[in-house]
């Protein structure tokens, strides 16, 4: 199929929608005790919800993601959603069969309520008056959206990294709404190392004078601090092996500069990633979301919130990647170990991959096969 210019039309087309709830006086009570409302969630859906409302899959995005998981927003859209290789008609998460939902997280900056949203009380962006939100709050807000869509049970929850933490938080908080779950490259709690990198990223933002205590929305904002924060993030998403292969010690100019303008390809890669990020992400959102990820802990007090009788009826597919040093395999094994104690149906695979933590977003046949095979079984056993 092609149009008059000989260019294939972009497919599938998706629409960004909004759901607003928690209006006064029914604001949402947050984990920290504060009340927040109204709350808007930006979301997108692909595929059709079946008559029994049994084919819904909720995809949870990672920390810097958004609701635009797959497809194109309009015909001139240059790039598809962030997981387009995985989600779509005939793809492993097949939208010919499943109804896929993805929403931007609470605290984010891609259409959902976050620190850059307008605070109704002041008519100005929240900035630091935005309350501290947690993974539990994010999931609580998603639950409102799922109920609004008329779905009582989710056929599957799928997410990697901070998205995987949301998957686990859903399982801990609303197990009766879950049929199956796929936590990818994730953990039940941040290691000291992961918290350390997040704190360096936050400090990079807060040390930028343009951050101005979070009150910068009438100016350009802490673009340098945010870029540095992203550069640090990118280092943690790669691996020694993948950086050696991608960049080695290659220069991005013909000879050493003998100054500090940058010589190595790895430097220009990080600069580029930093600059690109500044155009699409809010610095305060980064502070809030990284803090929420650091606070996330399903094992607080020594007992795992994944050990729960209701989860015995839930099927799990846990996946880790060999070169992921941000959320190493032992953390996924910890998830598996807790779930086994419930008697839950749990599968686990550690995929050999050199791309570090980023591996879960990079096209990978093994990952495709695991996810499509698992979903196919869940669909046949529970949804037909």
């Amino acid at each position: 199929m092609s149009n008059a210019d000989g260019i294939a039309p972009k497919s599938p087309l998706v629409e960004k929608k909004f759901f607003t709830f928690a209006h006064s006086p029914n604001e949402m009570v947050l984990d920290c005790g504060a009340r927040l409302g109204p709350i808007t969630l930006a979301f997108e859906t692909l595929g059709e919800l079946n008559a029994a409302r049994s084919n819904a899959i909720l995809i949870l995005h990672a920390f810097s993601g958004d609701s635009h998981v797959a497809g194109y927003l309009h015909q001139d859209d240059e790039r598809p959603g962030w997981w387009d290789n995985m989600v779509g008609p005939g793809k492993p998460i097949d939208t010919n069969r499943y109804f896929v939902i993805c929403s931007n997280i609470l605290g984010g900056c891609a259409g959902s309520t976050g620190p850059s949203s307008i605070y109704p009380k002041t008519g100005k962006p929240y900035g630091l008056s935005f309350p501290m939100v947690t993974l539990k709050d994010m999931v609580q807000a998603q639950k409102q959206l799922i109920e609004h869509l008329g779905i009582k049970k989710l056929m599957a929850l799928i997410g990697g990294s901070v998205g995987g933490m949301q998957v686990l938080r859903w399982c801990a908080d609303f197990p009766e709404m879950v049929i199956s779950a796929i936590p990818l490259a994730t953990t039940t709690r941040h290691s000291a190392q992961a918290i350390a990198f997040n704190e360096v990223a936050r400090q990079a933002i807060m040390a930028d004078p343009a951050w101005n205590n979070g009150d910068y929305y009438d100016g350009s904002g802490p673009s340098h601090g945010l870029a540095v924060a992203r550069m640090i993030g990118h280092v943690t998403y790669l691996s020694d092996e993948s950086m050696r292969e991608k960049f080695g010690r290659r220069l991005h100019r013909s000879a050493l500069s003998f100054d500090f303008t940058g010589d190595f390809q790895v430097e220009s890669y990080l600069h580029h990633q930093g600059k690109k990020f500044v155009t699409r992400f809010d610095a305060n959102s980064l502070l809030y979301i990284t803090k929420a990820a650091d606070y996330f802990d399903l094992e607080r007090g020594g007992s795992s919130l994944l050990i729960n009788e209701t989860l015995a009826a839930v099927s799990f597919l846990v996946i880790s990647f060999t070169s992921d040093w941000l959320y190493p395999t032992y953390q996924s094994r910890g998830i598996v170990s807790a779930l086994k104690k419930n008697g839950s149906d749990v599968s686990f695979c550690e995929i050999e991959a050199q791309f570090g933590h980023d591996a879960f977003l990079i096209p990978n046949k093994r990952l495709d096969g695991l996810i499509s095979g698992f979903l196919d079984r869940v669909y046949k056993e529970h949804c037909v």
């Binding site: 099927s315 597919l317 094994r333 598996v336 170990s337 086994k340 104690k341 008697g343 149906d345 749990v346 599968s347 686990f348 695979c349 550690e350 995929i351 050999e352 093994r366 096969g369 695991l370 499509s372 095979g373 698992f374 196919d376 079984r377 046949k380």
Partner: protein, 208 residues
Amino acid sequence: MYNEELENMRFDLQIIASWIEPGSRVLDLGCGNGDLLEYLKKHKQVNGTGIEFSEEKVARCIERGLTVLQGDFRKEVCDYPVGRFDVILLSQTLQQIHDPKELLIDLLSIGKRVIVSFPNFAHWSARLQILCTGMAPVTDQLPYEWYDTPNIRIISIKDFKRFLRMFGVRTVREIAINTHHHDYKGTIVRSLKNLRATYGIMMLERML
């Protein structure tokens, strides 16, 4: 293609499959590509889980809709609650285990019953080789040289039965078979088992 029909499976696995009660909760240790689990799921409606070391085999199992964990089963069996499974399968692996006694104790805790199959090191062909050549036997069932064998435990049917008596494990069922290493066909041995059978298969249960 995968083999999921009974006659296309290794002979000892055919016997094991025939011992499984429909609808039971089964754990298959070292499940490979999942042929036995797939067969049991399809024909005996079992609720099955496998444990397998190889990523490729684990992926194949999950792709075909089986529940399988990647890992070293010696460690993986430790997290399950007591009585989680009706039956645990350990086929042709006991002779490769570093601590077989402790493993069997663990298995008889998380499972009500354990089915074990192992090559019989006291088969006449092995005895004859030692006697005539004075060298470690190399047979169809034990095709390795001393320096490359994964089989670190020398077990005969007679040894194993003595072990079960010593540690208070009840034998629910037992059978001795004559078959080759990976063959689909074989015969049941009814007399002089420790001399004539190449494999022993036993269903074990804890004494209460």
